[in-house]
Amino acid sequence: MAVKRGRGVAAVNYPTGMNLGGDPTQALVHSTPTGSFMVTLSSVDLGQGLKQIMAQICAETIGVPTESVTVDTADTDTGPHCMGTFASRGTHRAGNAVIQAAREARQVMLEVAAEELEVNASDLDTDGSGNIHVKGAPSRSISIFDTALAAHFKHGRSISGRGMFLVPRSYPETETGAMKPSTCYAHACTVAEVEVDEETGEVVVLSVKNVFEIGRALNPKMVEQQLIGGSWMGISHALYETTEPYYPDREHGARDYNEYLMPGPGDLAETEIAVLERPSGDGPFGAKGPGEMCANPQIPAVANAIFDAVGVRVDTLPITPERVLRALRQRDAGATA
């Protein structure tokens, strides 16, 4: 019985969002009478942390604490339009829309405060903790609470804004087919180390070392969390997850968690994560979409590591013991032929 070791590397260049039909997302922002802010979206938080990030983006743009922003993603029937939460697009698309809406709301807020303080709106600034003051004269100030009350009950104004993100649509050139599928790319590189058992075809991932270039990390702990989970998921795609076998017929495929395999807590590879921040030109505060990208490079890295270990190229996923054994048999038949 021979257990062979191998090491493989792979890198990915991953688009944020897509460019079909402009990939739009819209956002609405408004203040309550007491100066908290509401972001209304149809983009959905399915655990990736969209609500937290949108609250941060809105708060940073208006100049209020994150706690005073509530994000409502309740209803795609009644909310502003969003293409959806997929293609790693949430932070980038919805974030840009939220910035635009929040800027408009901030402008109205400053105009109301300017009337109350009898100054020019352009002379005003926020302190980030709930107050608006005259630039250079922090004592001439009004709270956002009082500003919102004045807007609602005295000036008859709505402190609100509309936001929209639309990628200029790119059509393929007829001659070459060249087009611009995306405006923003995240990157990753993984080195995987594996052990392949030539007798059983079993592959064990010993370690994965990942580096992710994700634009600016708007919430570094949440980014790290997603990258660790994504790295695990990449290994899961590479070696485990499938609804096969389809023989003798489909009925024999995986139907539940006992048969649809994923690496469990006892099967974890030693995992390292490094984050490179190179702010993107058109992302909200420089962010890109790390979501899907982070589960990709592990797959070719593992396949390359298997090739390094035993000299076979398995090009169908997942790389099950059966596929490895078949490839090894072919390799050996070729050697003796």
């Binding site: 655990g47 942390g49 949440m222 969390q225 660790i228 989970g229 790295s231 695990w232 807590p265 974890l268």
Partner: protein, 160 residues
């Protein structure tokens, strides 16, 4: 079908309900008793999201009939916090960023609570074994393992 009565202690309070015979404890808790902390991930005993403690033992509430729980002491994640004060495991899950969608979290926390009650100083392998019946789609498990170890350390320093 005639309903039957079930009566047990849920997180310290006496509860009684009429359910149809054959109702799972998971359905009784979620639909009748307003405790939605146990989740239904698979309804067939394979994911651990529905894990609760019955008389101090870990049980899958999707595979337990409510009518077999008469007189039992049942604990769920909803009963772990002491008012506003989170249980050390809940705090550790928060501090270690051990939840993303959170669907597995209540089951993970019950499994971890059972571990810490019988072994206050677990090592990594103990934690791995304790949560090996619980499926997580999001975290890659490592943050969960670290959270449980963190809670164990927090417990032992506060006890010292």
């Amino acid at each position: 079908m005639a309903k039957i009565s079930v009566q047990f202690t849920l997180n310290g309070s006496e509860r009684a309900e009429f359910v149809e015979s054959g109702t799972t404890l998971l359905a009784a808790l979620r639909d009748k008793m307003d405790d939605t902390s146990p989740k239904g991930g698979c309804h067939q005993g394979a994911c651990g999201a529905c894990t609760v403690m019955i008389d101090g033992e870990l049980r899958l509430s999707c595979l337990t009939l409510a009518e077999t729980c008469n007189g039992a002491q049942i604990r769920t994640t909803a009963g772990l916090a002491n008012g506003e004060v989170l249980h050390p495991l809940q705090r550790a899950f928060e501090d270690a960023f051990a939840a993303q969608c959170g669907f597995c979290t209540p089951g993970m926390i019950m499994a971890a609570a059972a571990l810490l009650e019988r072994n206050p100083n677990p090592d990594r392998a103990d934690v791995v074994e304790a949560i090996s019946g619980n499926v997580c789609r999001c975290t890659g498990y490592e943050p969960i393992i670290q959270a449980v170890l963190l809670a164990a350390r927090a417990n032992s320093t506060s006890a010292a």
